[in-house]
């Protein structure tokens, strides 16, 4: 039995043939950045780095939402968890991220009510069942997640649930690409653009970026042949010196994206200038809750004042997120910073580049 729309793209024969095509075509030494953390994971889990020729280097970009969350936001999450009569709800990834003095996981061990959920609807359900508690969802993620959080706020309003709050640390991808290109020392020849962010925003959302920088760009799915196909298309563009904005994931991504989801996201959130770990403040790259919904805004409700937190000393997460360094070039990697005792978020999140290197890379 096969899983439709998945197993077809895992056929080893097809992958092998695409690799052969890449081998035949690739002459120049090129550096491609996969922007999305799930691509990073899939590349490692499938052993794609070992399959492609040495001419092609794959860099992992700022596409793991937990990894790019600024230190002061992590500290804010931990601060919120200390409020009385509060239940914190979060997706699993945030639990272990070290803040300046603690982590959500350590706070839970101390007795704070912190629950891992699978969907924002679980948080609403918890709020409904615990009317005397304040239920706060820690909103981390890109355009894929933001509409689901927006939908939860709209539902809470319709259901007249007044003890559900969201702390929004959402970020948007295209603006980060602009910022990335302006980073000093950056050396990228092409981008593997995220799959499910693009499902929502559509390939059209990258046009301003493409028109400005004329960088080879291909939107990719997550199965091995999807990623290999995107690498092939990028190599072709670079070898032929004909940069294009292409879509290798047409079964899920259209030019306009999911217009309903975009509308819901824009109804609830508006653009804001926010800081990304390792990149700094990127104008208009964050999503804050509109005033109209301020009753649901945990940041406002609990007067969380963003502290001026410092990123951990010696941690190269910032440079790793922008492709300037690989984890093995970080002085802390594997020595002080390990998944057991992570220093920076790239080692914590299972999609973080350092964690992926640690787990799957054998050092050669």
């Amino acid at each position: 039995m096969t899983i439709k729309h998945a197993d077809e793209y895992r056929d080893p024969e097809i992958s092998r043939k695409i690799v052969e095509q890449i081998n035949n075509l690739s002459k120049k030494k090129i550096r491609l950045m996969e922007v999305c953390g799930t691509h990073t994971m899939s590349i490692f889990r499938n052993g794609i780095r070992k399959l492609i020729p040495d001419t092609i280097s794959l860099l992992s970009g700022p596409g793991c939402p937990v990894c790019v969350t600024a230190q002061n936001e992590i500290d804010a999450f931990i601060e919120i968890s200390g409020k009385p009569d509060t239940i914190i709800t979060t997706f699993g990834d945030l639990m272990r991220v070290p803040g300046t003095g603690s982590s959500l996981q350590k706070e839970r061990a101390k007795g704070k009510d912190i629950r891992i959920i699978y969907s924002t609807f679980d948080a609403i359900e918890i709020a409904r069942k615990n009317p005397d508690k304040r239920v706060i969802f820690l909103g981390v993620g890109f355009e894929t997640t933001a509409p689901t959080v927006a939908a939860s706020i709209l539902s809470a309003r319709d259901m007249k649930i007044d003890n559900y709050f969201v702390y929004s640390a959402h970020k948007t991808v295209p603006r980060a690409l602009f910022a990335l290109m302006k980073t000093e020392g950056i050396k990228i020849d092409g981008f593997i653009l995220p799959g499910h962010v693009s499902v929502i925003i559509g390939t059209g959302a990258y046009l301003p970026f493409f028109n400005r920088f004329k960088m080879p760009c291909v939107v990719a799915g997550f199965e091995p042949s999807d990623i290999l196909q995107a690498i092939l298309m990028l190599a072709e563009q670079i070898e032929n010196k004909s940069p294009e904005l292409k879509n290798a994931y047409t079964r899920a991504v259209s030019f306009k994206g999911n217009e309903k989801a975009i509308r819901i996201m824009n109804d609830v959130f508006e653009q804001a200038d926010v800081a990304w770990r390792g990149i700094g403040v990127i104008p208009g790259s964050g999503l804050k809750i509109r005033d109209e919904f301020s009753n649901f805004d945990a940041g406002k409700k609990f007067e969380i004042i963003s502290k001026d937190s410092k990123e951990p000393k010696g941690c190269a997460c910032g440079e790793i997120l922008t492709g300037l360094k690989t984890p093995v070039e970080c002085p802390l990697y594997k020595k002080i910073c390990t998944p057991v005792e992570p220093v920076g978020p790239c080692m914590v999140s299972s999609e973080g580049t350092c964690a992926a290197y640690y787990k799957y890379h054998n050092g050669d």
Binding site: M1, I3, K4, H5, A6, E8, Y9, E13, I14, K17, I18, E20, Q21, C36, G37, T38, M41, S42, F91, D93, Y118, S119, T120, F121, D122, G141, T144, T145, P147, T148, A151, S155, P194, G195, H196, V199, I200, G221, F222, E223, S225, Q229, A248, T250, R251, A252, S254, N258, E259, K260, A261, I264, S350, E351
Partner: protein, 79 residues
Amino acid sequence: MCLAIPSKIVKIENNMGIIDVDGVQRQASLLLLEDPKVGEYVIVHAGFAIKKIDEEAAMETLKVLREALAFAEKSEPAG
């Protein structure tokens, strides 16, 4: 994390769907979709269906991939 596997909608009730991957069923909100129908494959993220799979585009992609395979096999001995 993004979920690569699409799920099939098997039941719809008030904007909530029961979706199925290979016999595993769970609920997903259909609030972010226009006009979802039973039998359609969807991409799911954090408990929400976020996109229907475009069956025609999927067929086209597979055709291209398989043609490349067939062509490569014809033009060289299998190794």
